[in-house]
């Protein structure tokens, strides 16, 4: 699935929810399900420090796709991290770098991505794009 398809899927998933509680129940569930990052990757180097919660993010190329694993110490953040990874992991660096991320807005969770939330989510998105740009540059060099 493309990044766009992934996002549209999530938006469709969220449309069924009647109220904020169902929405958060789902996010919390996602947070609980997220396969934990390999502990060896839960390093300070991979740490994105928000004022409120911490996010760890690890990136590696598998073939021509960029694969992310991640974790957070707060379960709602972790759920949102899971959504972000569902959308952006296993994609080509070029597509990630150019991706327009609109699903957070569309599912009504804009505030979680605001620079003032300091849960590390916005920094995580920035970091994901930086990785993508980095690997893109590398692959261009290698070609």
């Amino acid at each position: 699935m493309t990044i766009k398809e992934q996002q549209d899927n999530i938006i469709a998933d969220f449309e069924v929810f009647g109220d904020w509680m169902e929405k958060y129940e789902y996010i919390i569930q996602l947070g609980k399900d997220l396969p934990l990052i390999d502990p060896t990757y839960k390093t300070d180097d991979n740490l994105i420090r928000g004022c409120q919660s911490k996010v760890w993010l690890h990136a590696e190329m598998q073939g021509d796709k960029l694969v992310f694993t991640a974790d957070s110490d707060a379960v709602i953040t972790k759920g949102l991290v899971a959504l972000m990874i569902q959308v952006l992991s296993h994609q080509a660096p070029k597509d990630i770098a150019n991706a327009d991320i609109y699903f957070i807005d569309a599912i009504g969770l804009t505030s979680h991505l605001s620079p003032t939330r300091s849960n590390g989510l916005l920094s995580m998105l920035k970091q994901i794009k930086l990785y993508a740009i980095g690997y893109q540059a590398k692959s261009v060099q290698q070609n």
């Binding site: 609980k32 004022c51 409120q52 110490d73 707060a74 379960v75 953040t77």
Partner: protein, 414 residues
């Protein structure tokens, strides 16, 4: 709601008071706002908002030095505000320096001590429950002078270890600087004892009264405290202003902090002489409108009666603690016998920010995180807490909403 209403014996007219706070009349995420983040900042009554608006629409002008009518009016109002705030803390008006806030006030003293009184090997005593604003200024000063920062330990209950404090007092200690009330634990520290013990060894004391000022009567002369700092925005006043109280003798000795207009007597390029305190410490155009708003805020509190507020909030705090304790997964962080303002807690293993987000969804504003007391969080080995902090306009109904909100959060977090 039965019990809730029954509880409020002290202040049956709290609903009338709530009406004076326009911001409280709103819904957040579809629910009437429950504002329990008063430790971060309090809301402002119309009396304060109006005083500031009257200033800008009626007599805004720079103060001191002006002969024209608006300038006279602004100066009178600015100085009247100083008198009001001085009266609020039982001080003489010339002992009250307007600052940007508590942080600015503590930095003023720390910088003065750095410049004039701190030497290599000297010590400064703070406590383990201090706000960063009462830690970092002293770290900066000590670092520059190779002096040492000493920390009064905090007990498991969240109180100061007074025996250790007694043992820490020695001739190398140049100042003791501690919070009157902890912004994270709600602990009321035994400031009278602290002052008496320090004075017995000839050591001055600064009280960080940021979290005391809205909850406790302050009588600086009775306390015999040397310095005291507080912020208007935590006492129903505007942002951008606070005070440093200093004993006259200390304000005389302390070197000037910032240089600029208003704090001078005479300037030549060779030599500058300084104005008398408090102006000596008020360089530049002051926060005029804010001072006037601050004056209106303490007038408001005084008119309601700080003793009455204290009694009401005490009742409310007891109620809140009791109700919160009914939640099985809840663990209080800080269980001092003497408390005011803040109530910190954790819910099972849940991250405070998760609880905060779910409370916000229900229109309940609490603060989550380290509350600018990271060393204290390290002490209690938690990444932060959920903190509900009370003000005079909170009600038992607010507490009930909080408890129900936490219960819902617990259910959702599973």
């Amino acid at each position: 709601m039965e019990t809730a209403t029954a509880k409020n014996t002290i202040w049956p007219d709290v609903e009338l008071i709530r009406n004076e706070f326009p911001i409280l009349q709103q819904t957040v995420n579809g629910n009437p706002l429950v504002y329990l983040d008063n430790g971060a900042t309090t809301q402002k009554p119309v009396q304060v908002i109006r005083a500031m608006q009257e200033y800008y629409t009626g007599y805004n002008s720079n103060v001191h030095r002006g002969v024209h009518t608006l300038s006279q009016k602004a100066t009178s109002a600015y100085e009247a505000a100083r008198h009001q705030v001085a009266a609020y803390i039982g001080a003489h008006h010339h002992e009250v320096v307007f600052t940007k806030g508590t942080t600015d006030a503590i930095n003023l003293v720390a910088a003065g001590f750095r410049r004039a009184f701190l030497h290599e090997g000297d010590e400064v005593i703070i406590s383990g429950m201090e706000h960063h604003s009462n830690i970092v200024p002293w770290q900066l000063a000590c670092e520059e002078k190779k002096a040492h920062l000493k920390v009064i330990p905090v007990t498991d209950q969240g109180e100061l270890d007074m025996d250790t404090f007694a043992a820490m007092l020695n001739p190398r200690v140049k100042i003791v600087s501690v919070a009157w009330v902890s912004n994270t634990l709600g602990t009321i520290n035994p400031v009278k004892d602290i002052i008496a013990m320090a004075h017995a060894k000839g050591i001055p004391v600064l009280l960080d009264a940021a979290q005391a000022a809205a909850h406790t009567p302050i009588k600086v002369h009775e306390l015999d405290v040397d310095f005291l700092a507080l912020s208007a925005h935590k006492v129903y006043g505007p942002t951008g202003i606070g005070i440093l109280y200093g004993k006259e003798s200390w304000l005389q000795q302390l070197p000037p902090y910032q240089g600029g207009g208003d704090m001078i007597k005479h300037v030549t390029f060779e030599k500058t002489t300084y104005a008398e305190p408090p102006l000596k410490f008020e360089a530049g155009t002051p926060a005029i409108c804010e001072a006037i708003g601050f004056g209106a805020a303490v007038a408001y509190v005084t008119q309601l009666g700080i003793h009455k507020i204290q009694a009401y909030e005490h009742q409310l705090t007891e109620y809140a603690v009791a109700q919160l304790k009914t939640i099985p997964e809840l663990r209080l962080i800080g269980e001092s016998r003497h408390r005011a303002g803040a109530i910190s807690f954790l819910i099972g293993q849940h991250h405070p920010s998760d609880v905060g987000v779910l409370l916000d969804q229900q229109g309940i504003a609490v603060r989550t995180g380290h509350h600018c007391t990271q060393p204290l969080m390290d002490r209690f080995e938690c990444p932060g807490t959920v903190r509900a902090s009370l003000a005079l306009y909170n009600t038992t109904a607010d507490i009930d909403r909080l408890v129900a909100g936490v219960q819902k959060a617990v259910t959702l977090l599973g």
